[in-house]
């Protein structure tokens, strides 16, 4: 349940921001220094170790904003981790939308924003969706940042709001592995199988979607 909560909130934060950034960079941004700086910055962010995001989450969300060791802090931290993935894959998808669709829309008198909303986004949707699934599977498997933000390792009841303490599947596995009793090793293995099953499914969906999408463009 902790994992699902985190994932849902992460999507809610990361997708609008990531998609917005991608649209801005591909459609509006002029080729100037600021744009170049943003692009370099994004590629650096995607290379930053996730544990550093964890430190950021600890310092900013948990301490400074006083959100505590809650689902909200965890999800905010996680959205920053997956943000570069969403941006880059949305950018690719928007780039792949043929130019003549845009020209056709302008010729009918539509403004840039109308063109983006009604033409570009719908045709780029499969690619954007792929990026979202990729980031979901990344967020599902990621444990270091949540560990930093202070996810609990033993939570018996389901979280009831965004400020509850939480745990997530990978963290649970990490905790089980640290316990000396042999039974917990088996529990960790079982947890891994569940995690892998979920991830393989999401990956399979991504691959199928992409194949379909590539064919339709060709």
């Amino acid at each position: 349940m902790g994992s699902i909560n985190i994932i849902l909130l992460t999507i809610a934060f990361a997708v609008p921001v990531g998609l917005g950034t991608a649209i801005y960079l591909e459609e509006y941004a002029k080729n100037n220094r600021m744009t170049k700086f943003i692009k370099i910055n994004i590629s650096n962010l995607s290379g930053t170790p996730s544990i550093v995001y964890g430190l950021l989450g600890l310092a900013v969300f948990v301490r400074t904003l006083g959100l505590g060791k809650s689902i909200l802090s965890g999800a905010l931290t996680m959205s920053l981790v997956v943000l570069p993935i969403v941006i880059v894959s949305s950018q690719e998808a928007i780039k792949a939308v043929p130019q003549y669709l845009r020209h056709g829309s302008y010729a009918l008198g539509a403004t840039k924003w109308q063109t983006i909303r009604k033409i570009v986004i719908p045709s780029a949707l499969p690619g954007i969706f792929t990026g979202v699934i990729l980031s979901v599977s990344r967020a599902l498997g990621e444990s270091a940042p949540l560990l930093m933000v202070g996810a609990a390792t033993y939570v018996s009841k389901l979280p009831d709001n965004v400020f509850s303490v939480f745990t997530a599947l990978p963290l649970q596995i990490y905790y089980w592995m640290g316990l000396p009793k042999e039974d917990f090793k088996d529990l960790a293995a079982a947890g891994i199988i569940v995690l892998l099953a979920i991830l393989l499914t999401t990956n399979a969906i991504t691959i199928v979607l992409r194949n379909k999408y590539q064919r339709s463009i060709e």
Binding site: V17, T21, N41, G47, T48, P49, K112, Q114, P170, L200
Partner: protein, 310 residues
Amino acid sequence: MTQSVDAAQNRKIANTRIKRMKLSNTIAKNILFLFAVITILTTLGIIISLLRDSVGFFTEISIKDFLFGRVWTPLFSEPHFGVLPLVCGTLLITLISAVISIPVGLFTAIYLSEYANKKVRKVIKPILEVLAGIPSIVFGYFALTAITPFLKGIIPQTEIFNALSASIAVGVMTIPLVSSLSEDALRAVPDSLRQGALALGSTKMETSLKVVVPAAISGISASFVLAVSRAIGETMIVTIAAGARPNLTFNPLQSVQTMTSFIVQASQGDNPHGTVGYYSLFAVGLLLFLITLGLNILSHYMVDKYRKEY
């Protein structure tokens, strides 16, 4: 009379609609720009939060002691904060994992780009992608429960937590990164170069190794740099499999602690806010961030260079 009133009214309606359209266009543009600015704010946030808490650390420990001290015992009653053992552990793991991921990744890339036919590629590529999607905690479990016992069977004096087993897992994890980026670089090499080499009578292997690989070298080295930066930042595998003993050693059979696994260990223990122990987290994090930032910029520069060539 009524007709012209209607026309005027229509024009008015049309004008307000156009105005509204233009307005929403500007608003949308600005909102999207704000979203883009969030990414910059994230970087700034990382730098500021790391710096702010590191300052608390460096007022008590001098930068020189931190960078060149040889003892790292932050949790003892008489703490020492010399980061060298952590850097050394990180370096050791990174080196061994690079020895695994770079050749395997590169040869996979050469095979996929130069030799494999479409069918084989269609099978291998998704497998690599799945490998890339496996969470590091799973690799950590694999290292601890499969690789370590295996190593123990060969070399009995291997410790339960050792650098070698963690490095192997990190190496395997970074193979897909090297292979997919190198393959992109290899495929960007124009076919004319290959045909030229073949026309001069070289074999396929000579063409691949002596013509295509050198032509794609900046892209390939960028992928190496990224793999190294990924290995440095890798957290869960080393926390699980390499142990937690800050150890100034290059013996891969012993337990070591890396910068990342220290951060995890320290955040798990009770380090109240405001103590040197708590601040040391951020000092180590800052060092880690600067190292990976440097490597990322380096690889970015390399990719830029190779894009210009073709």
